[in-house]
Amino acid sequence: MAAEHKPRLSKNLLRMKFMQRGLDSETKKQLEEEEKKIIREEHWHLDLPDLQEKESFIIEEQSFLLCEDLLYGRMSFRGFNPEVEKLMLQMNSKNNAKETEDEALELDVSDEEMARRYETLVGTIGKKFAKKRDRANLEEDENGNLKTTNAKKVFLKPQE
């Protein structure tokens, strides 16, 4: 009789942090679920069907700028305001002559020329990172290019 009526701890007590150490995993899970349910019930939510936002293939855009390639709104003619005239060229060329500008930029320095220029730089920069001892080994030849002399230092017997 007494065994059947084993005193049970209340749920609220079991939920406390220090009581959970001794619990087995089964009751722990049960408690957690109940707690989640309580939280869920306390949240407000509207009874609406889930909004299924499909990816739209129509993009709204209310600006005429995109549609009509309009010019920049400030203009000056025949040197009335040189500042604005400079600005006009700059702003309007941004739209039209972008491609031509890019081409011109590329033509400025060709890859070959670049490589030729950097050829001479390799030694100069190399010298910067070389140690003092190595630097002594570097010698400039007649072209100004640097050359390493690989002659190893050996003790030279003084002549008598």
Binding site: I58, E60, S63, L70, G73, R74, F77, L87
Partner: protein
């Protein structure tokens, strides 16, 4: 024009959506529904009948289409909200290009990114109130000028003209202007200089004048040394050497909306003589 209008009205009465491709350059009316090219072929003869077909995703590959001013997206449908001619621009890259309605109107509705001319109406603490011709004055922070800091305030007085750009403009919020670009440079924005004359024209005329191949502006530029500022809100500010020249320019610009090319050429020839 009148024929086109009756045609449009007829089709509207019929309640049938027309294909956008077939009405390019024609008059469309508010409330009308347009079908995009990939929607129309689904609606072949005996297809979906009178009802426009709602596209189900994944049926066929679709391209992105931009609907500009005067058009509105409603789910998968494309609706017309303004009266005017339907225009289309071919895409530079991929996609379906841009559709928009070329309409005549005088009332300006702020649009993000537009360059406009505003009049400072009030200075209150950190912001200026700027009248741009919209339903509500726009706000302009004193920090939104080139080189402005908390200590170094820009010299802006009530009544000054401001050339600026909208950064916030939607139907629910107060529009907000700035006078710098994303890099913090003025790029011509800010207070417009002294003197000059400000007048209002229709929004359509502004777009016509700002078109890249506009002859009117080129001809005007040959007439006198002058400076012009165009605001997308229908305001034009002109300044020339003398008041007389300024007035002549303002009158020409105002009148050229309803002139034929020949009439305009005549007037320019007459002015060039004097």
């Amino acid at each position: 024009m009148a024929e086109a209008a009756t045609l449009a009205a007829e089709s509207l009465a019929g309640g049938k959506a027309r294909a956008a491709r077939t009405v390019l350059g024609q008059v469309v009316l508010p409330g009308e529904e347009l079908l995009l090219p990939e929607q129309e072929d689904a609606e072949g003869p005996g297809g979906a009948g009178g009802r426009p077909l709602r596209l189900s995703p994944g049926v066929r590959s679709r391209v992105r289409v931009v609907c500009g001013p005067g058009l509105r997206r409603c789910g998968d449908r494309l609706l017309v909200t303004k009266c005017g001619r339907l225009r289309h621009k071919e895409p530079s890259g991929g996609g379906g290009g841009v559709y928009w309605v070329d309409s005549q109107q005088k009332r300006y509705v702020p649009v993000k990114g537009d360059h406009v001319i505003g009049i400072v109406t009030a200075k209150s603490g950190d912001i200026f109130k700027v009248d741009v011709g919209g339903s509500e004055p726009a706000s302009l922070s004193y920090l939104a000028f080139e080189g402005a800091t908390k200590r170094n305030r820009p010299n802006v007085q009530v009544g000054d003209l401001i050339y600026g750009q909208f950064v916030v403009a939607n139907k629910d919020m107060e529009p907000e202007m700035v006078c710098i670009d994303s890099c913090g440079r003025a790029n011509g924005m800010g207070v417009i200089g002294q003197d000059g004359l400000l007048f209002k024209v229709t929004l359509g005329l502004i777009r016509k004048l700002l078109a890249p191949d506009c002859e009117i502006i080129q001809e005007v530029g040959k007439l006198y040394p002058l400076e012009i500022v165009f605001g997308m809100n229908g305001r034009i500010w002109v300044k020339a050497k003398t008041i007389q020249q300024t007035l002549i320019l303002a009158n020409i610009l105002e009148a050229c909306e309803h002139m034929t090319t020949d009439q305009r050429k005549q007037i320019f020839a007459r002015l060039a003589d004097t």
